[in-house]
């Protein structure tokens, strides 16, 4: 690859995707092997002062392909990106988004706004999902420094971008995680309550959806939990995450597997 110089009229500007297409670094997406791995449930919950995201760790093809996939990644310091759908496409999607945000920042010496990042992903999703049967649906959450607020953006398969003021879920465990969130969400959640509710939602999804991995006490593998607040992206330490899921499991054991009554 030589020095990528462009004349002013066909310069791709600060968009890495435009540059990658112009220079042939990426091909148009094409049909993929049907045995590809799928990745599943991730949720995001807003609270006073930020957003909590929780994601399971399992990749499923016709069997469990992996138990420790990371489906939530920091897209940059204040933004997290999670994926559901095809694992191969999704991980590529995260890589492309991370690189794009950084590329923009270096080219222009300013960061993209959170809304700018959310909108930037729409055409990538659209292009990817129209040309392949393996859909990737991302979930974007971040701390918006200009509004001093946590924000969540969800997408549909056609690339439509919708801001959510409460919570959002993606993946096959959505019905179960969403139900738990609908019952437990309040507008004035604090960080601790949001962490508890998010962990419970993923626990429910893992309990009911075969493609979502719940806490794995045998291998000591737990869903990953991150927070986005004024300090940026923070992943909770493994033992704190373990304690939360052990506590939920303990309560569920005491109630003999019954989730109802007071929400737990």
């Amino acid at each position: 690859m030589g020095l990528p110089l462009f004349s002013a009229s066909d310069d791709p500007g600060p968009s890495f995707v435009r540059y990658a297409e112009l220079s042939g670094l990426v091909d148009e997406p094409s049909m993929t092997d049907a045995d590809a791995r799928h990745a599943t449930t991730v949720i995001a919950v807003r609270y006073n002062g930020g957003v909590v995201m929780v994601g399971d760790r399992q990749a499923t093809s016709s069997y469990i392909a992996s138990r420790d996939v990371r489906k939530i990644e920091a897209a940059d310091r204040f933004t997290a990106l999670a994926i559901s759908g095809s694992a191969a496409r999704g991980l590529e999607f995260i890589r492309m988004a991370q690189l794009s945000f950084e590329h923009y920042e270096k080219m222009t010496d300013t960061s993209l706004s959170l809304e700018g990042k959310a909108n930037y992903l729409s055409p990538i999703i659209q292009r990817n999902n129209l040309s392949t049967p393996l859909m990737v649906i991302p979930l974007l959450a971040g701390w918006d420094p200009s509004r001093q607020d946590g924000r969540i953006f969800e997408y549909d398969g056609a690339g439509g971008c919708y801001e959510r003021r409460d919570f959002a879920t993606i993946g096959s465990g959505t019905p179960f995680a969403d139900s738990a969130l609908r019952l437990g969400f309040r507008a004035d959640l604090d960080r601790e309550a949001a962490l508890e509710l998010g962990a419970l939602a993923i626990y429910e999804a893992g309990d009911n959806d075969p493609s979502t991995g719940g806490p794995d006490f045998v291998r000591n593998l737990y869903p990953m939990i991150v927070t986005l607040d004024e300090n940026g992206f923070t992943e909770l330490p493994a033992d704190e995450v373990a304690q939360r899921f052990i506590a939920i499991n303990q309560r569920r054991t005491e109630s003999q597997g019954v989730a109802g009554g007071s929400l737990r």
Partner: protein
């Protein structure tokens, strides 16, 4: 058919060199120096937004003097090259030497074949790792690439600044000492450069993947002790 007058290659190169030198001499200079734990780049630049120093990649920085539009295009091409290479292979495969060579080839081609030579000098700095050394590559207007061992000066007044800075520093010093020496070398004894007119950037390990930092005026003032 039009008539061409014969111009000897020597004369042609001399004219082109003079043209480029004149363009470069119009702007202010840049000092880049390796300090004990990083790389420092200091430019005299009254503009707070039209930068001369920029981040290229995790451990690579760019600095340019001369015509802004010309070196800014090279800067953008460098970022694209680095991000594209890291995307295709791996982040650790992005090497400053390869980028410096591409710059040298392009600037050299423009010098001999372009409508006019580029009126720029650029620097590619790399902060070392376990497998790569810390490096300063200076590329002159005619495409000459030089691997500067400890510090590099770009711009019209380079020789004088070089001897001033070289006399002040003999060994790798901490950041504040290196910055003071660099600013003194840029300014000479008969004038001072105000902090807002300095653009100061460093490559230094702070625990993260990206090592480039643009120092604020407050930080620069604190380091200079003014």
């Amino acid at each position: 058919m039009s008539n061409y007058f014969y111009v000897s290659p020597e004369q042609l190169i001399k004219d082109r060199a003079e043209f480029a030198q004149k363009g470069i001499a119009r702007g202010r200079s840049i000092v880049a120096a390796i300090y004990d734990v990083g790389v420092l780049m200091v430019a005299e630049n009254p503009s707070a937004s039209l930068n001369k120093i920029s981040e290229i990649y995790d451990r690579i920085a760019f600095a340019g003097v001369g015509k802004y539009n010309e070196f800014d295009r090279l800067r953008e091409a460098g970022i694209r090259w680095a991000d594209g290479t890291g995307f295709t292979y791996s982040r650790e495969d992005v090497d400053a030497r390869a980028l410096a060579n591409y710059y040298a080839q392009h600037i050299g081609d423009m010098f001999t074949e372009g409508q006019k030579p580029l009126e720029v000098e650029v620097l590619v700095a790399q902060l070392g790792t376990a497998i790569r050394p810390t490096k300063l590559f200076r590329i002159a207007y005619e495409g000459t690439i030089s691997d500067e061992p400890r510090f590099a000066v770009l711009g019209g007044d380079a020789e004088a600044i070089k001897s001033r800075f070289g006399a002040a520093e003999s060994d790798l010093e901490p950041l504040d000492v290196t910055l003071r020496n660099a600013v003194a070398a840029l300014a000479n004894a008969d004038r001072t450069i105000e902090v807002p007119d300095l653009e100061v950037c460093v490559l230094e390990d702070t625990g993260g993947r990206r090592t480039f930092a643009r120092l604020t005026d407050e930080r620069v003032a604190a380091l200079l002790g003014t």
